[in-house]
Amino acid sequence: MSALLAQVEIRERTQDTCVSDNGFCPGWIVDNFDRYVDPFVQHVLLTVVAVAIGFVIAFSLALIAYRRRWLINPITQVTGVLYTIPSIAAFFLLLPLTGRGFLTAIIALVAYVLLIIFRNVLTGLDNVPEETKDAGRGMGLTDRQLLWRVEVPLALPEIMAGLRIAVTTTVGLATLAFFAGAGGLGKEIFADIVFKSNVVVAGGLAVALAALLDGAILLAQRAITPWTRAVAAR
């Protein structure tokens, strides 16, 4: 591992004692901020693409399992195994199959979020009150209409909560994506892990990204679930 890290050298050794002491140097940060832009964009891409693909797969699985209850256990077990495989191990396991690069990282990240989203979507659907479904059916909604007009909308708070966990977790995990050769902020962090300025900027950007995406989903959730904030009867 240290051999891997030793290959990269991000700073030119200058006369600046702060830099040579591996300290926290605002001057250096301002001068060198450019170098973090591309990794940051890579990181956003890794997170968003992985969560989007993971959401599509897990959401579909949840809808299928919701109607065919016997599928819940097998799906939970398989996604559970994927969830427990350490990401680094997954990256290295995939290398022979998919090679170094974006695809390998995405596959490992997607595998990781499946369980979280699957469980939340299913819980959300299961929590839709029985009488609401009964009323819907009794008024002549077909199963499909009931799903898309009643059950999925009412499951949105749980679904969005799952997305938030998935996104923040993925931002963290994506810092390891450079092991798969997919870049990201992790690459910068590990490039010079003893240099405080570097670690603070790269790590800080990852934290900020997580907070940003989490906040964005929260805002989206508020916008699409206005009824959850309706004040109860006087």
């Binding site: 009150p129 009488e131 609401t132 009964d134 059916r137 008024m139 002549g140 009412l154 206005p226 009867a233």
Partner: protein, 396 residues
């Protein structure tokens, strides 16, 4: 429905005629069970009537109701809606033609009141303007202010308001048949009574065929034009108008279920105006005593009733008031209780007992005496043949 049918003159909101509903040996046997939940149920609900399915829990009343819109499919027999078997129709399409209101109401929490009510219209592809007009019309029909209510979410309504929205939603496309499963079950007694009265008032206007499920015999007697009492295993014990059920229970089970106080319940079916009142010996002060005595002899009431210029009751006169030439105003007692034509007999009896009175003057809407109700009349009403008694819903 053909073209000539729909070309009839219409008011602001033309209402299709209510449907006749017929159960024909309808049976439901759940898989893996030996005894059917509903066994060979046969009964006909005439168009525009409320049929109450009542019975102890596990009697299959809800199952019977849910078989009508195929929420539960019958295993044997048939159910006909205006002569057509429900089995011939696709469930979703059939259900859109049948109003559906359940105990927990089941309003969609994520939709506004207007969107809740417009659920079925939307499924049927109504345009926006028509849905909006219909929503407002229905909200007014169930005594809610459209302007104030339309855009609220269900959580922002009181229990009673939610119930009204539930009824409005069930009525959205003017279905010829409504299914109501304990619709007022989760509501406190005071509001329940108000909602019951409101629904009866509404029903006089809309004249739907209604299947109403309840476990409460008092509610059944109040709401039903016909009552079907179901016994465990979905066996029909008796199907009759409320009065007949109270007067002539078909068997021991019905007798027990209706309760020991069924004679008193029967009094709740009749109003003061439904019975023959006694003629009141009305006298005024200053009237010749001879005239007063003549009126007294002509009446079944033993005391003269003093009235004012507008014939309003003042009190029962004592013997001494008739001793002179002219009637004086010496009272034996005040005229309490004063009863009204619209009082139900049970309340009238209760008023008489509370005042320890044998006789109570009955006044019309202007307050003038129209006759006298006595304990004797009431006890006679208790023995009356059921055929002479009006059914529950009419007696309002």
């Amino acid at each position: 429905m053909n073209i000539s049918d729909s070309a009839q003159p219409s008011g602001p909101s033309p209402r299709p005629s209510a449907a006749t509903l017929e159960f024909r040996k309808a049976t439901k046997l759940y898989p893996g069970q030996t005894e059917p939940a509903v066994k060979q149920l046969s009964l006909t609900v005439p168009a525009g009537e409320i049929c109450v399915l009542v019975g102890p829990s596990g009697c299959g009343k809800t199952t019977a109701m849910r078989m009508v819109n195929r929420m539960i499919d019958i295993t044997d027999g048939d159910i006909l809606l205006d002569g057509q078997s429900v089995r011939e129709r696709r469930p979703a399409e059939l259900r859109r033609d049948i109003g559906y209101a359940i105990q927990q109401i089941g309003l969609f929490p994520h939709l506004s009141v207007a969107d809740n009510i417009a659920t079925v219209p939307r499924l049927l592809g109504w345009d926006r303007a028509r849905m909006r007009a219909r929503v407002d019309e229905l909200l007014e029909l169930v005594s809610l202010d459209p302007h104030d209510t339309r855009d609220r979410y269900p959580t922002q309504l009181s229990g009673g308001q939610r119930q009204r929205v539930g009824v409005a939603r069930a009525l959205a496309v003017d279905p010829p048949l409504m299914l109501m499963d304990e619709p007022f079950g989760a509501i406190d007694p005071i509001n329940r009574e108000r909602l019951q009265n409101e629904f009866l008032r509404l029903q006089r206007e809309i004249r739907k065929t209604v299947v109403f499920v309840t476990h409460d015999i008092d509610e059944a007697i109040k709401m039903g034009d016909h009552i079907a009492i179901l016994q465990k295993g979905g066996k029909l014990a008796q199907y009759a108008p409320p009065a007949e059920l109270l007067m002539a229970p078909a068997n021991r089970f019905v007798e027990d279920f209706v309760g020991a106080d069924r004679a008193l319940k029967r009094l709740a079916l009749q109003r003061v105006r439904d019975v023959d009142l006694w003629k009141a010996p009305l006298v005024r002060t200053g009237e010749p005593v001879a005239e007063a005595r003549a009126k007294l002899a002509d009446s079944e009431v033993p005391y003269p009733l003093l009235v004012d210029d507008q014939r309003r009751p003042v009190g029962w006169l004592s013997e001494r008031a008739l001793l002179g030439e002219r009637v004086t105003d010496e009272l034996r007692s005040r005229a309490d209780p004063v009863l009204e034509m619209e009082d139900v007999l049970r309340d009238a009896l209760s008023d008489l007992l509370a005042e320890e009175a044998q006789y109570g003057p009955v006044v019309d809407e202007r307050g003038a005496v129209a006759g006298v109700l006595s304990i004797e009349i009431l006890s006679h009403a208790l023995k009356t043949d059921p055929d002479e008694v009006p059914s529950g819903a009419d007696a309002l």
